[in-house]
Assembly symmetry: C2
Homo-oligomer: 259 residues x 2
DNA sequence: GCTTGCGCCTGACGTTGCGTCAGGCTTTAG
DNA sequence: CTAAAGCCTGACGCAACGTCAGGCGCAAGC
């Protein structure tokens, strides 16, 4: 026992106490406890009193942990990676990158939604919930595909999914923008009482068809799903999962858009 | 009792059962339970068997909840907002927007870090942890100011903070990029054994000073803090919070960089 | 030798927003 | 009338620690 303690003292220069050690990596002592308990980072040893002792080699590992945490990996993933259990870094990195990009897209949309909502409030003071909700619907329309599950057959949905994966994010962004502006224009046309038979309305309907084609990739099955979607909208209790209003749909229909 | 049940039946067209109701807003029944329990969304009533009953007015509230959740508010915040307890929407929105923008910055940096790490791996196959860590340090250098607390006086830090707020994100991005490339170039110069007195070294040192000046805004106090930082690096246990290596610092010093 | 103060330890509960059983009614479709 | 849905209430689980609470260990000053 005494011998062991003496040995530890002879190498004491290399040992850090929890406080110091944690500070070196910018984490808390509690975090060290946690990592110890879950087996992510075990101290090099314990004193006879149970104090944790760390050394430089532990610091390297801790830094790796912090680094991987920075890019959003879970502690479990980090453990698997560092212990080389069934994982390789390259795969993990590319997967994680995709996940982060997805998250960023969500953030972008949320930020945009707030932006628009704030613009609205400037003019109307009162937070018009209906408008606010619509903004977010439109922004999510093409990206958040949950509502499609109700209308597309499983195969059609898979096709759609494949298409989404082959389409670059930029194009999706573009499409989203196109939809938003087209719907806005149609709404304006409706508000202005434009004749659905007029040239302007025809042009709008043509653009609508174009977008639908671009969206579905010309797949008949998907278009059928869209038709079903639109019919159901008529007795929809609220407008929630509806990407555009009845008026807009009716106008386009009347103007001869294939919808 | 019988009367109450009858009344409910007479208005049964307006009532939704949990399943339907949840589907209308795209949430799960469990979510409704949760919202009920925490008092965020109480059903309009319960049947004698204890079944929850919702109506359209509840749906409006649920949609508001979903909408606010989309922009990242917590359920507690949403409750306070909808119940108009001490909160106003305008403030909440702008605050939330800032938070989201911060998060997006973090994501951007993480994505960039992964990007660079992957580039590294292409060339060296093995994931050089040291390099990987450095990448993230450099990316965070100007943005994640935790380490500055150790070196800057409180006033100097505040100045820095103010400067950061007055500087547009684009400029920060640019500066970050400049630093990264400059440090890389200096590292190459060191590796190539470039003479610190050479013209090339002088040019590098000049650029260095420029960046320091741009970074500190020419503030003497901040520059003093940087000097202190650099001296301490000599006996730093690891390179963790060091934005650049000893060699780079020594080279710039030798080449006459002011720091 | 004794106190003071800082640091260390081990539980153990709190947080956020539900998912996921488990066990037992109720309602509805056939 | 019966079986299949759907509903209910607990209660545990998750991620990554923060935050007590209660109790030692250790070095320094008296």
């Amino acid at each position: 026992m005494l011998l062991v303690e003496k040995m530890m003292k002879t190498t004491s220069e290399l040992l850090y106490r929890p406080n110091e050690f944690a500070a070196l990596a910018g984490v808390t002592v509690r975090t060290l406890h946690h990592y110890d308990r879950i087996g992510l980072l075990r101290p090099s040893g314990y004193t006879s009193a149970g104090y944790r002792q760390y050394r430089k080699s532990d610091l390297v590992r801790l830094q790796q942990i912090v680094t991987l945490k920075f890019i959003g990996l879970s502690l479990k993933q980090i453990r698997d990676l560092l212990d080389r259990k069934s994982f390789d870094l390259a795969t993990a990195l590319s997967q994680q990158q995709e996940i982060l990009v997805d998250k960023r897209r969500h953030l972008d949309r949320a930020i945009k939604a707030i932006e628009k909502a704030r613009q609205l409030k400037v003019s109307s003071e009162e937070p018009d919930w209906e408008d606010f909700r619509k903004i977010i619907e439109v922004i999510n329309m093409q990206n958040n595909m949950d509502w499609t599950q109700k209308y597309y057959s499983e195969e059609a949905r898979q096709k759609l999914e494949e298409r989404r994966q082959t389409v670059s994010p930029h194009v999706v962004e573009q499409g989203q923008h196109d939809w938003a502006s087209l719907i806005r224009e149609v709404e304006e046309a409706v508000a202005a009482g434009t004749d659905p038979a007029s040239e302007k309305a025809q042009a709008l309907a043509a653009r609508w068809s174009e977008l639908i084609k671009a969206f579905t990739g010309g797949d008949a099955e998907i278009q059928a799903g869209l038709n079903k979607l639109y019919k159901d909208q008529a007795n929809w209790p609220t407008t929630f999962p509806k990407p555009y209003s009845d008026e807009v749909g009716a106008f386009i229909c009347a103007a001869g858009g294939k919808k």
